[in-house]
């Protein structure tokens, strides 16, 4: 025989004064007959209090309750409190229901009679519902603490260094033949990144030396299956796709970086037949090799134009670091040959770091000229521009340096499909939540760091790599298990026709298709329990545990009484 305990919290005066608890209890007890159940209905002064919780435990055990309904406050306040109470008893916490008669009755219905009627309606609905609820049991899953890092640039290196440890191996996969990525090509970093270049070289060294990190170069990812704690990855060699290796890891870090927008493809910047048109990266390389900026002839340029925001319109976003890095180049040229005329054609200066503006000011003091333009075109070494006040100008320079926008690295789209995680419209990876979950992706256990998730500088990249490491360290603790959400969707095989609608609507890729059975299957460890698939299923073949249609319908029935 089902035995439902119904406990109404007086919440001090908050509920007691505004609804007639006695009447509620009386009405509830009358359900014994109609529903053919036993009911224990009692009031209590404050159930969320320590004594209150003890009292509940006592009641559950002594009365051997099979179900529990609590009439009190919002589940957002104390649902977890009472779930914990249940967990300390024999009662499965999913056979309990908290009814919010405070926010929904006592506090908003100012006529006591009506408030009481309403409360009765809610409580009865709760009793009906709870009778339709079923036990759910949390599963514990073993996890693999190891991590696969895709991309051997500084983002990947930093993540690997943070993560590798006695109990956690890191597989660092790089498609080229060496580590370091773009940053290693830089001649120098911003002065605030004083020891930057050396620091990066050191990190590369540490990575290669670290026994916890297995560096796998000239290799890319072929396929990924699994979920947080248990991924299987298939790698293959870049020049020989047939040669594959399999890995099992608990998490994946995407750190595939960026490339510079192909400015030569832009109509407004014809390099013509001039060989004196460079990108900022060309110049960085030049500085790294020759240690100075020179023309093809080897002579020093008498005049240099630096064009900011090249291709920004095309990509539709600001690349954040071009301003400061380009100013840095301008300064280097000026410092090396003070007599060279250095002119920067700028749009809006983007100097979001607290040190950038001073750096810019110093450039001015050095004699670097800044011209704010609305539009600027270049034709070989000829520059045509329109200023803010609509005045036009045309000048010839010995050298023109373009600061191109950052774009996602080649292969980003392919990889995103392999990983099954969405890209932002700009082609960079999309975060799980741009503001409050910025290094995670829609798929639990797959993270993204560095310029793969958007334009940014070295510091930001390192920060994100460390953030990813942090996320992984707290989620995959060596030797510990994880407990996935239990209120997840489940497929009713008898009803599923395999139309795949649910696969299309699931934001988390939590539903896969079983080709043999021809039906959908929920990856319970991935499902977040929103129920979107339930709403989408034309065949009513999916139900969300603890929010099943019969359960909700019981509430409806009482609501319409």
């Amino acid at each position: 025989m089902k035995k439902v305990g119904v406990y109404i919290c007086e919440c001090g005066p908050n509920i007691a004064d505004n609804v007639d608890i006695e009447r509620i209890l009386a009405s509830v007890s009358s359900m014994e007959e109609s529903e053919g159940i036993e009911i224990v209905a009692k009031p209590y002064k404050l159930l969320c209090s320590g004594e209150g919780q003890e009292y509940l435990k006592e009641e559950i055990e002594t009365n051997q309750l099979t179900h529990l309904v609590i009439g009190a406050c919002s589940p957002r306040d104390h649902n977890s409190t009472f779930i914990n109470v249940c967990k300390q008893t024999r009662l499965n916490p999913y056979l309990y229901k908290l009814i919010n008669i405070r926010e929904h009755c006592a506090w908003i219905v100012h006529d006591k009679e009506k408030a009481t009627d309403k409360a009765i309606q809610y409580i009865r609905g709760g009793i009906r519902r709870v009778l339709y609820q079923s036990e759910l049991h949390e599963k514990k899953l073993d996890i693999n603490p190891d991590v696969l890092v895709i991309g051997g640039g500084i983002a990947g290196i930093e993540a690997a260094l943070c993560l590798a440890g006695p109990e956690r191996r890191v597989f660092l996969v790089e498609k080229s033949d060496k580590l370091g990525g773009k940053a290693a090509e830089w001649g120098s970093l911003l002065p605030r990144q004083a020891g930057g270049v050396k620091a990066i070289q050191d990190k590369i060294g540490q990575t290669e030396a670290n026994t916890g990190i297995q560096v796998i170069t000239k290799t890319r990812v072929n396929n990924i299956i699994g979920f947080l704690g248990n991924f299987e990855a298939e790698l293959c060699q870049v020049d020989d796709p047939e040669t594959t290796t399999d890995l099992t890891v608990g998490a994946i870090v995407v750190a595939t970086g960026f490339r510079l927008n192909e400015v030569s493809s832009l109509p407004e910047f014809k390099s013509a037949d001039s060989d004196e048109v460079y990108t900022t990266l060309d110049v960085e390389r030049m500085l790294k090799e020759k240690g100075q900026v020179a023309l093809q002839t080897g002579e020093k340029p008498k005049s240099v134009a630096l064009i900011f925001c090249a291709g920004r319109e095309k990509v539709g976003y600001c690349s954040q670091i071009c301003c400061s890095t380009t100013i840095k180049i301008a300064r280097q040229i000026k410092e090396q040959n003070p007599e060279t005329a250095v002119k920067c054609f700028i749009r809006d200066l983007c100097l979001p770091h607290k040190d950038d503006q001073a750096f810019y000011q110093q450039a001015r003091d050095l004699g670097v000229e800044f011209v704010r333009v609305q539009t600027v075109k270049s034709d070989g070494v000829g520059v045509h521009y329109t200023c803010m006040d609509q005045s036009n100008g045309t000048e010839k320079f010995d050298m023109v340096i373009l600061a191109p926008a950052m774009e996602p690295a080649e292969g980003t789209t392919e990889l995103s499909e392999i990983l099954g995680i969405p890209l932002h419209e700009t082609g960079f990876y999309e975060e799980a939540h741009q503001t409050i979950n910025p290094v995670a992706t829609a798929t639990d256990g797959i993270f993204v760091a560095g310029t793969a998730r958007g334009p940014g500088g070295v510091t930001a990249t390192l920060n994100q790599a460390q953030a990813v490491a942090g996320k992984i360290m707290v989620q995959l603790i060596p030797g510990e298990q994880i407990v996935p959400e239990v209120k997840v969707s489940e497929i009713l095989e008898a009803f599923c026709m395999g139309c795949k609608t649910c696969l299309d609507v699931c934001h988390y890729g939590a539903i896969v298709f079983d080709e043999d059975k021809g039906i959908s299957v929920v990856k319970e460890a991935v499902c977040r329990g929103c129920g979107n698939c339930v709403g989408s299923c034309p065949s009513g073949a999916i139900q969300l545990k603890h929010f099943t249609k019969p359960q909700l319908y019981q509430e409806v029935i009482e609501a319409l009484r």
């Binding site: 908003i108 408030a115 339930v534 509430e555």
Partner: protein, 145 residues
């Protein structure tokens, strides 16, 4: 007679609220003690996209005088994109109900964020008033359904 009925008429309205935004707004409204008409009964779901058309129609044909579906503002969904799907499913349902002229006003979709306690009260009260003007759902008095 008509008016007499309306005086005594206490509508039965079902409100399917998403846990993260609108249910939170209801809590906020509660804690600020705004008076809200008791006609609406709140049914909490994790996401408005859980609401399948069938559940809504069943509720409707069981004689609900009004049905409110409310969730996060588009773009705010706790689960990414859920409420965009809610919007499409509602659009379909609405179209059917409109076409059949089954008092479309009885079915209402609203976006109410967790911060909009006052607006929650406004929407619920206003919707209730509207239903009161409409009168009881004819379904309730017909043995055909």
């Amino acid at each position: 007679m008509e008016s007499k009925n309306q005086k005594q008429f206490e509508p039965r309205i079902v409100g399917f609220l998403c846990n993260w935004c609108t249910y939170a707004a209801a809590d906020l409204a509660g804690s600020t003690k705004i008076e809200i008409d008791p006609a609406l009964t709140v049914i909490r779901v994790m996401c408005s996209s859980r609401i399948d058309p069938n559940l809504v129609l069943t509720t409707f044909f069981d004689g609900a005088d009004g049905i409110l579906i409310a969730g996060c503002h588009p773009g705010d969904c706790h689960y990414g994109k859920g409420n965009y799907y809610t919007r499409r499913r509602y659009a379909l349902l609405k179209e059917v109900i409109d076409t059949l002229k089954l008092d479309p006003e009885r079915l209402h979709l609203s976006w109410i964020s967790a911060a909009e306690g006052n607006r929650y009260a406004e929407v619920v009260n206003a919707f209730t008033d509207k239903i009161k003007k409409l009168g009881p759902s004819p379904i309730k008095s017909s043995s055909l359904f």
